[in-house]
């Protein structure tokens, strides 16, 4: 009687049981006859054979391929729909020693993720993509994918995919092989055991090319989806072999693994201590220079809004810097975006004697509105009893609120008087200090000297600041007089 030994069994890099649900912990979630299980098995075997399990990071996207992290006892990252190659790029660059393998279906890679795969391949990222192509959206119930065959009836092409309306099946491997960077691209199929063994070879070669550091590799696997195709597993396998492989020609599309040069090792990361010099940051003040914590009970939630170009962001920055010098915890949250192009712009500033929990100011207790749209947008969010400064001669009647202290001053006209309307934001700062006294004058001056670039501007801004204080004092006096 011959002695027997195990030649094939579950790969070591797969978990013994899968913690997906209480039951079925030893079964995958794939339907009977699904190609994913086979592809997964081939990939797992490759990882075992190459002895790279501890270095592998699997990147699984959205679709039936989503659950790889329940199966592969390797590093795992589950990513947003289509973004696997982008995340894989980051993983590989951050951890050059890892072997990063993205495993995506056609609804993911060829549709929503077509930009990511194209550019990752074109950049020649050192990653491996396993692309399971079953020419349909399987998990969501059978919608047309870019890879769906012409004439195929799906839930979104009930009369069959029409080349005029729906376009042609997308040949990803051919697209990949039209690029310069990829070193290995092959299309394989799971149509019979011969094809499956060829698929194994291709997957191994693709992963190996990453281990050797040669470049981007992709294996497209034509894979059966019996459930959605409404075929039994054996029929579906035949369909892959006889119909799909006819539309999607099998074979190697690119193999430069023999003569590709390994990518040079990335330059070592600079030490943390070198970063300030690289970023040209000024030396940090010695601990003795840092402001001592401020004992005042302070919680200013300031919202500053206006047109782009009015100095909204700089005003916020000045407040935050000065607050920091005053020993307060501060945050400055500028809102960037299309408003940078002459739209509206705003920023949130928080000054607090305790650590700031969130930099977002939803309900302001100081609102600085430098134009009418900003007042209109934010006045309703001002806290009752809080302060509003508005750039204008008077508060427009429709935005007046009895429960707020509202001041209107033509800040930019006042700035024009001291030399340039551009300093209007600093006039606002002066007025704000006058009415609230929220920060000491000398602290603000010190912060301004640091933040404002150039002596000429600093001089103008100092004038603007005192003009603002003066104008607000005058206005307060007048109002007081009115009340009397």
């Amino acid at each position: 009687m011959p002695e027997l030994k195990v030649t094939h069994q579950k790969a070591e890099c797969l978990y013994d049981s899968y913690e997906r649900k209480g039951e079925l912990t030893h079964q995958t979630h794939y339907c009977p006859g699904c190609g994913h299980g086979i592809t997964m098995k081939l990939l797992a075997e490759t990882i075992d054979e190459l002895g790279i399990r501890d270095r592998v990071i699997m990147v699984s996207p959205v679709g039936c391929s989503v659950f790889l992290y329940y199966y592969f006892d390797t590093g795992n990252v589950q990513v947003a729909h289509g973004r696997a190659p982008a995340v894989a790029t980051g993983l590989k660059r951050a951890r050059p020693d890892s072997i990063v393998i993205s495993y995506q279906g056609d609804g993911d890679l060829a549709a929503i993720g077509s930009a990511e795969i194209l550019h990752a391949a074109n950049r020649g990222e050192l990653i491996t993509c396993i692309f399971a192509n079953n020419a349909i959206y399987g998990m969501t119930g059978g919608q047309m994918a870019p890879t769906t065959l012409l004439g195929k009836k799906t839930t979104t092409t009930p009369f069959g995919r029409d080349k005029i309306k729906d376009g042609y099946p997308l040949h990803i491997s051919e697209v990949m092989s039209s690029l310069d960077a990829p070193v290995f691209v092959e299309r394989v199929a799971l149509g019979n055991t011969k094809q499956i063994l060829a698929a194994k070879k291709a997957i191994r070669k693709a992963v190996e090319s990453q281990v050797k550091g040669l470049g981007f590799s992709l294996v497209e696997v034509l894979s059966p989806c019996p459930t959605i195709w409404k075929q039994d597993p054996v029929e579906a396998q035949r369909f892959v072999r006889e119909v799909m492989a006819d539309i999607y020609p099998l074979g190697n599309k690119r193999d430069r693994t023999a003569d590709a040069e390994p990518h040079p090792a990335p330059a070592p990361e600079p030490a943390l201590s070198e970063l300030p010099a690289i970023l040209k940051l000024p030396k940090e003040p010695a601990p003795a220079d840092a402001a001592p914590p401020n004992p005042r009970e302070v919680d200013y939630r300031i919202k500053i809004a206006g047109f782009g170009g009015q100095g909204v962001l700089l005003l916020g920055q000045l407040l935050a810097e000065a607050g920091m010098d005053d020993g307060l915890a501060v945050s400055w949250l500028p809102s960037y975006g299309p408003e940078m192009r002459s739209g509206t712009s705003n920023c949130h500033v928080r000054l607090n004697n305790r650590p700031v929990d969130s930099p977002v100011v939803t309900r302001s207790n100081i609102l600085i509105a430098l134009n009418e749209p900003s007042l209109q947008k934010f006045v309703s969010l001002a806290e009752p009893g809080s302060l509003v400064l508005y750039n204008g001669d008077s508060i427009p009647a429709e935005f007046r609120r009895e429960d707020l202290t509202m001041h209107a001053l033509p800040f930019f006209e006042l700035a024009d008087e001291v030399g340039t309307a551009k300093a209007g934001n600093v006039v606002v700062l002066g007025a704000l200090l006058e009415v609230t006294g929220l920060l000491p004058d000398e602290t603000v001056d010190r912060a301004m000297a640091r933040v404002v670039k150039g002596e000429k501007w600093l001089e103008i801004d100092r004038k603007a600041l005192s003009r603002g204080k003066q104008a607000m004092a005058a206005s307060l006096g007048k109002e007081a007089a009115c009340h009397v």
């Binding site: 009687m1 030649t7 094939h8 079925l24 098995k41």
Partner: protein, 79 residues
């Protein structure tokens, strides 16, 4: 392991009947025609694959055809 049943056979297939989903791809792939689907249902309601008990040569083709990573274990005679 019921190795004693082997006699002259060069191989042996162990089916995990609770893991098998009865898709039949291993039956299709087997060159020796020594696999069939059981008449019985497993816990999950599938007819699992079953080894006839003899005739396996340990080629492993059924293993690669099977979509479940751990449903089949293949043994082969040493040299």
């Amino acid at each position: 392991m019921p190795v004693t049943a082997m006699r002259e056979d060069r191989g042996f297939i162990e089916v995990n009947a609770q893991e098998c989903k009865g898709c039949g791809l291993c039956v299709e792939a087997c060159v020796q025609k020594v696999l069939h689907l059981s008449a019985h249902l497993n816990h999950y309601g599938y007819h699992p694959a079953e080894y006839d008990g003899r005739g396996c040569n340990g080629c492993g083709l059924c293993f690669y055809a099977c979509p479940e990573p751990g449903a089949l274990k293949i043994f082969k005679a040493v040299a």
